[in-house]
């Protein structure tokens, strides 16, 4: 039986404490995230540079998306944004495919009970390491190793080995893209591998044992057990990586020689940053930056809702429905009996 004190405590409503505990999060989030987001939205309907304060409606969107608009450089602005969007997808695709294949292969190997691999812990630690290094430093490191001329490590070493001409790793449009894809893969494959490993380890070992007894080889096991059961985590990895790809900034922005970023590596994030940093604070191109931001936001929202929909907890939803039904029935009964809670 509950004591008097316990009953008294049960009778107190603690709801207000719930609101108090979550209040700081919501206050700060609204102030530093929601309002800036709304403000970005407003800015996307306003002019650029000297025309900063004027309301221009949808013009920024039509300029960057279709090249239509009253400003002189409308076509060029559109071309730049289209190129940035294209670069973003090329760079994302080019690092995601090798990254997921490599990570999946390693994750399957590392979780295979039959394979004897000494130093598994060490390999995991080393392969995850690039992920924690500052991306700005990684960009600087690779620029200084892969510089265009024979004065840099990689080209000098290759030329010692007999290569005739130095390879332009940094300034060549194609090579620099491949470099960014490679570095991005270098940074992220360890992280993806560990995530996929924990997914594979969540699969019941009895499934693999049963398949073994039935004579399935590793390839068959991979395609018929591992891959289908890994699907939720794969979708999650895919979408987080796509959203991460849309944000790609540090590497493409810093992988260059000299003072200005490389137009060949300009991603949407770089485009946004460049536009709201152009000239003085009052004269920056907030309109274009805002419109590009909102376009990215829309893409993210679509991607996000796909994962949200695919990963929703079906059991919990069913239970919730059942509970609500039961509650309704209870209430109806109580009304009939004239009872109050």
């Amino acid at each position: 039986m509950a004591s008097a004190a316990q009953r008294r405590i049960k009778a107190i409503s603690y709801a207000k404490y719930g609101y108090m505990f979550i209040a700081p999060f919501f206050l700060v989030y609204c102030f530093f995230q929601i309002w800036p987001l709304i403000y970005t939205f407003i800015l996307s309907f306003k002019g650029n540079q000297a025309n900063n304060a004027a309301w221009v409606g949808m013009e920024n969107y039509s300029t960057i998306l279709f090249g239509k608009g009253s400003s002189a450089g409308a076509a060029a602005t559109h071309a730049e944004f289209a190129k940035a969007l294209g670069n973003t997808f090329v760079l994302w695709f080019g690092n995601f495919i090798p990254q997921i294949l490599l990570s999946l292969l390693l994750a399957v190997w590392f979780t295979d009970a039959k394979v004897k691999l000494p130093g598994k812990g060490f390999f995991k630690i080393v392969m995850y390491m690039p992920n924690i290094i500052t991306a700005a430093s990684v960009a600087a490191l690779y620029v200084n190793l892969f510089g265009d001329s024979k004065n840099y490590f990689i080209n000098a070493t290759l030329m010692h080995m007999g290569m005739e001409e130095p390879i332009k790793f940094v300034t060549d449009p194609t090579n620099s893209k491949i470099m960014v894809m490679f570095i991005q893969t270098w940074l992220w494959f360890g992280n993806t591998m560990i995530m996929l490993m924990s997914g594979i380890m969540g699969i019941s070992p009895s499934l693999f044992e049963a398949a073994d007894i039935d004579g399935a080889n590793s390839t068959q096991q991979f395609f018929n057990i591992t891959l289908p059961l890994l699907q939720p985590i794969m979708v999650y990895t895919l979408v987080t990586s796509m959203i991460g790809g849309l944000q790609m900034f540090d590497l493409p922005y810093l992988f260059h020689n000299g003072a200005n970023f490389s137009k060949e590596l300009e991603t949407v994030a770089v485009y946004i940053y460049y536009n709201f940093n152009k000239g003085t604070v009052e004269q920056a191109s907030y309109g274009y930056a805002g419109a590009a931001s909102i376009i990215i936001f829309a893409i993210t929202a679509v991607l996000g809702s796909i994962t949200f929909y695919m990963n929703r907890d079906k059991d919990a939803i069913a239970k919730k429905k059942q509970r609500k039904k039961a509650e309704k029935q209870m209430k109806a009964k109580m009304k009939q009996g004239g009872l109050t809670i």
Binding site: I22, P24, V28, T134, A136, A140, N144, A269, I296
Partner: protein, 309 residues
């Protein structure tokens, strides 16, 4: 052929197959390990060579003896007979890459952000799981929904807003927003749901303990494992955050480590290869050292994040 012989043979070939596979995997893993470590090794090797050595032969594989000279150039501690050129080099590097100041600024930002992130995220998660209130479901759904919004999306408005408030060149826009970390809250809610006994809160109420005190003295210590994991990730993320820092901190006085690295990268005259590599080495040193100390713990944390759905 006897039964034993037959099965023995099959067993042998099975073992041989597994052996071959293990060796192949080992080779691939060693190659990947080299790909991960060699750039870092070459970076450190090059930081110990003088500019002249690196210009004559950029392909250096072994440690040189100029680390101290490079450090002196970087900190502008030159001998009296230093050449005019060396003085210009030293002036350029020491003004853009003042490492003590960079470490301090990065440490202030990452340290305070981490404390705020884990404390307030734990608090929000606690509020959402312990208390039963009308909007708790809606609040949680909101947190999950906004979890994936990239920072870039609101940054144009953010910067302009910070200019209006006069908060540019201030650490406030880099530290205070850390209070609101949806992904960390999500992690902590899952942690609390799986391993936090809610009865303990009731017990503490019976003993007359206030709600906030219950949270701080009883719940927080019990959430230590989750807090530790998230603290490491929050620290690393804030230390490495070039984007927001570069957006807000325009004054050289407030430059953080990533900003300093990007400045060194932009030099186009009076460059010194050795000092360049030294700067990059110094910028990654603290985080790599901390990583190798806490690595097992970090790997376990990444794996936890992977099973969060």
């Amino acid at each position: 052929m006897s039964m034993k012989e037959q099965y023995g043979q099959q067993k042998d070939s099975y073992h041989a197959k597994i052996m071959a596979k293990s060796i192949a995997i080992m080779v691939v893993c060693i190659i990947l390990t080299l790909i991960c470590l060699v750039p870092i090794y070459i970076l450190i090797v090059n930081a110990t060579h003088s500019n002249q050595e690196l210009v004559e032969n950029p392909s250096q594989f072994f440690f040189g003896g100029s680390l101290k000279d490079n450090l002196n150039t970087l900190t502008s501690k030159l001998p009296d007979d230093a050449s005019k050129h060396l003085r210009a080099v030293a002036r350029q590097y020491s003004s853009a890459f003042s490492i003590g100041k960079g470490y301090l600024n990065s440490l202030i930002i990452a340290g305070f952000s981490t404390v705020l992130t884990v404390f307030f995220s734990a608090m929000t998660a606690y509020g959402l799981t312990i208390y039963d209130f009308k909007l708790s479901g809606a609040a949680y759904t909101f947190i999950i929904a906004v979890m994936m919004i990239p920072v870039q999306v609101s940054s144009a408005g953010f910067v302009r807003f910070m200019y209006t408030l006069g908060l540019v060149n201030s650490f406030i826009p880099l530290i205070v927003p850390a209070i609101a970390a949806p992904a960390v809250i999500f992690f902590m809610v899952s942690y609390m749901k799986s391993s936090f006994p809610a009865e303990i809160v009731e017990a503490s109420r019976i003993d007359g303990c206030g709600e906030l005190r219950t949270f701080i003295t009883i719940a927080l210590p019990m959430m230590k494992p989750a807090i530790a994991v998230q603290a490491i990730f929050a620290f690393v993320a804030n230390w490495n955050n070039y984007y927001t820092q570069n957006m807000i901190l325009k004054n050289e006085k407030y430059a953080t480590v990533p900003i300093m690295v990007s400045k060194v990268l932009a030099f186009d005259k009076n460059t010194d290869q050795g000092v360049n590599f030294l700067c990059i080495s110094l910028s990654i040193l603290p985080i790599v050292v901390v990583y190798f100390i806490l690595s097992k713990f970090i790997i376990a944390g990444v794996a936890l994040g992977g099973v969060k759905e």
